[in-house]
Amino acid sequence: MNLHEYQAKKLLADYGVPIPKGKVTSSPEEAEIIKKEISGKAIIKAQIHSGGRGKSGGVKLISSSEDAYDSAKTILGSNLITYQTGPKGLPVNNVLVEEATNIDKEIYLSVFIDNDLGVPIVITSTQGGVEIEEIAKNSPEKIFKTICSPLVGLSPYKLRDISMSLSIPPSEISHMEKIMGSIYKLFIEKDCTLIEINPLVITSDNKIVAVDAKINIDDDALFRHPDLQELNDPTQQEVLEKRASDFDLSYVKLEGGKIGCMVNGAGLAMATMDITKWAGENPANFLDIGGSASEKKIKEAFKIIDDDPDVEIILVNLFAGIARADVVANGIVKAGKETQSTTPIVVTMRGTNSEQGLSILKNSELDITSVEDLASAAKILKNKLSNTE
């Protein structure tokens, strides 16, 4: 689960990490009031689940409360398109109005999990304010990597090494180490998969402030964080992905493809996506219906794919182990009937009750082509695609 910047900053502040003075709001009027409480310049920042907001007009420097009102009015309610959002962008329902920070030194800091080592990693760099991919590309020697331990955490000596690598002014070292320790603690205690503070700023009067912040939480661990569950913002999800997640379906909308995919199992789903490419097209989505989906869930899954305007052919690939092919077939048929779908469907169905499933599909009103396996599916798909061209 992604958090908004203002939610991430609230969490950081709870752990004692200094953040700029400011407030979040959904109304231009309130933005004006918040600015009034801030002496000097302020920043207004669109709250969406995406990076690259600055370059897309989502972050503005404001000098007066009128500025605040005007900027908030412009940004709020708009759909902000960044290089990360896709062409539709994401709706801005809230803006964060904060005092502007006098920057003396910008630091990059992130904590995430190294899957190969199986431990948390802290990445720091003196190149704060720049995106990490860019630092990695242009000045990899400026990336300082610290491996943490599940048993003893982020050791004091490692904090010292990080401080040294960042050339922190001596007077600020102990404060900086305390802040980094707090960030690590938050990472562990709140089941984070990412905390990125970019930049972590040392101000001209030697204060340390987290000027931007990104936090992702492990969805699988939300059960033990009821407080964090409430921070979920469904408006930031793609419409079809939102529908899928309501039904607990693992679905990802992909841009630029025409083949809707419906598969059980993530690996098989990816393999199925891949054969569309072999056939000369691209997948419109990833969809794993999971192991023991109910007919109701299958119905919704089919509707989600069929409702995607990009989808021209649906490819169903089922290798039923836990899943039952007849249940899946029934779900598809019922969904097709309800929506009067005419989309051609290529099906490969194997495993538990697959013969029944296939006969259910064949006896329906749907445009079904049944094939034996993945290789045959690829060939049929290629055929169909060349026919339509």
Binding site: N115, I188, A266, G267, A271, F286, D288, F319, I322, D373
Partner: protein, 290 residues
């Protein structure tokens, strides 16, 4: 012969809810030697009148000599079940459970160090050896055949697909093992390759990777210097865009190494026989071995 499991396997089952019970029946049907079931409130009862229940893993091990354990316990409690099996001295632990918090797996991984236990999974279909009729997990018993191909994969159903292709082309399997789709997991590709290389019954190996992480590259490095048997490799997810998680928690491209193309390149350089699409695994094996 087979790897990791076989005639000496004495299986203990932990987590006998709806799915766990269903799968345990299937394992018994297949012929797996299940010696104990663990449930805190069923001591003295029997699963399907055959398998005795015990209230703790340690007691089950003490009383039955179980050396292998499978876990169907729900995700919030799965870490504890793995720790319990490690503490009880189980040699091989297979965790089927999906959705275990990654911070829990960090602890499990650290806890495993310095013990003699091995972990398969989590979020995996388990392991099956057709010859000894040992099925531990959820790989359908009716799709496998005894034979000489070792199969290792991060995926569940894609493994079934590969097995079906092998059988269609006339090849049975020595052992099939799903190492799981989670980013932090137990036994790796490399561990499995090492065992297949040593296993006399295995003549060729099928390795099915996917996007995310760099375990396929690690496997490639190992193949290059340590594997003499032919390896057919397939990577799923070449059409997956970066930054999006494809179902499996581990299947997300976060850096260059996570790309299917990079993994393909590494495996090809290591001398593995790469298939263009996972649809042609069976044909590739046939092409190589005949």
């Amino acid at each position: 012969m087979s790897i990791l499991v076989g005639n000496d396997t004495k299986l203990l089952v932990q987590g006998l809810g709806r799915d766990g019970s269903f799968q345990t029946s299937r394992m018994l049907d297949y012929g797996t030697n299940i010696v104990a079931a663990v449930h805190p409130r069923r001591q003295g009862l029997y699963f399907e009148e055959k398998v005795p229940y015990f209230s703790s893993v340690t007691e089950a091990v003490d009383r039955t000599g179980a050396n292998t354990g499978i876990i169907f316990v729900p995700a919030p409690f799965a870490m504890d079940a793995i720790i319990e099996q490690i503490d009880a001295g189980i040699d091989l632990i297979i965790c089927i459970t999906e959705g275990i918090p990654i911070h829990d797996m960090i602890k499990v991984k650290a806890y495993l160090k310095g013990t003699d236990s091995k972990l398969i999974g989590p979020n995996c279909p388990g392991i099956i050896t057709p010859k000894s009729r040992t099925k531990i997990g959820i790989i359908p018993g009716n799709i496998v055949r005894p034979g000489n191909i070792g199969v290792v994969s991060r995926s569940g159903t894609l493994t079934y697909e590969a097995i079906a292709q092998l059988v269609k082309n006339g090849y049975g399997q020595s052992t099939c093992i799903g190492i799981g789709g989670d980013p932090i997991h137990g036994i790796s590709f490399t561990d499995t390759l090492k065992l297949f290389e040593q296993d006399e019954e295995t003549k060729a190996i099928v390795l099915i990777g996917e996007i995310g992480g760099s375990k396929e590259q690690e496997a490639a490095a190992f193949i290059k210097s340590n594997v003499s048997k032919p390896v057919v490799a397939a990577i799923a997810g070449q059409t997956a865009p970066p930054g999006k998680r494809m179902g499996h928690a581990g299947a997300i491209v976060t850096g260059k190494l996570g790309l299917a193309s990079e993994k393909n390149k590494a495996l090809e350089n290591a001398g593995a026989h790469l298939v263009e699409s996972p649809a042609y695994i069976g044909e590739k094996i046939k092409q190589i071995l005949s």
